[in-house]
């Protein structure tokens, strides 16, 4: 039973440089800050960072799984508060959870939490799904 206040089970995704390359190819966003460490450092970043939209795509998968498929996701929005930092040779976590904030008219609203290495990476992350 989905009701207001229901806490959804946490899910952990893992990101590495290979996933960033795969997302760059799948999305068409080839910005070098997501692939080239030397370039990322040259523009003042701490290391290569994941595409904000990759973080959002993975959180979108979490929402789809809850809703019972991609087709049931009606709205999804988020703010990119901090980057997900992806050092070479490492797998970093993206930990996603959510709480149900509204249920009405066959729809459920969710507020999501998304962190990497304990740091909040998405803010104001909200979705509406068909239930």
């Amino acid at each position: 039973m989905i009701e207001v206040g229901t806490q959804l089970e946490e899910m952990v995704f893992y990101l590495d440089r290979a996933l960033l390359k795969a997302y760059a190819d799948a999305s068409g966003d080839q910005n070098p800050i997501h692939q080239n460490e030397e370039f990322a450092l040259s523009v003042g970043l701490p290391n290569v960072i994941a595409h904000g939209m990759l973080t959002m795509a993975l959180a979108g998968k979490y929402i789809s799984d809850f809703a019972g498929g991609s087709a049931k996701v009606l709205e999804f929005g988020a703010r990119f508060t901090k980057p997900v930092i992806v050092p070479a040779g490492e797998k970093v976590d993206l930990t996603v959870s959510a709480v149900v904030t509204d249920v009405a008219d066959g729809k459920a609203s969710l507020t999501l939490s998304a962190t990497s290495a304990g740091v909040k990476v998405l803010g104001m992350a909200k979705a509406v799904v068909q239930i």
């Binding site: 995704f13 996933l19 795969a22 997302y23 190819d25 799948a26 999305s27 068409g28 966003d29 904000g52 939209m53 990759l54 959002m56 795509a57 993975l58 979108g60 998968k61 929402i63 789809s64 498929g69 991609s70 087709a71 996701v73 009606l74 709205e75 999804f76 929005g77 988020a78 703010r79 990119f80 104001m124």
Partner: protein
């Protein structure tokens, strides 16, 4: 700086973009989605990012894309995207303001299949000073 009279203007694309199954498959593979019959919820960024950038790169608009950082993103999905869908994109600069020396510009992009609005997206772009 963004030209003030750009705010509220809609730039309609004329190019048609057809979504292929292999594009959906590649996007699904990255996020571990095994159901590839429809596109994942954020798939439309593959079309709108490129389209809005090309529609809003006109020098008279005054948006410096080389200094843009993505601030936030929202999707309103009227129906899921499937392989074979053909879209045109139109982009509207909904608002622009300056905060701490950075310009904050909100761009809405709408994907139409013929006259059917399929997805609206809002991107807040932070143009670093």
């Amino acid at each position: 700086m963004l030209s003030p009279d750009s705010v509220g203007r809609t730039f309609a694309g004329t190019e048609s973009i057809t979504v292929s199954q292999s594009e959906i498959d590649a996007f699904c593979a990255v996020i571990g989605e095994t159901d590839t019959t429809v596109a994942p919820p954020t798939f439309s960024i593959r079309i709108t990012l490129d389209q809005s950038q090309s529609l809003l790169s006109n020098p008279e608009i005054g948006l410096d894309w080389t200094r843009v950082v993505h601030g936030d993103q929202k999707f309103d999905i009227k129906r899921p995207i499937k392989a074979g869908d053909t879209f045109t994109c139109s982009s509207t600069i909904e608002s622009a303001r300056v905060a701490a020396g950075n310009e904050i510009v909100t761009v809405r992009s709408d994907l139409f299949s013929g006259t059917e609005l399929v997805v609206s997206t809002w991107s807040t772009l932070v143009v670093r000073a």
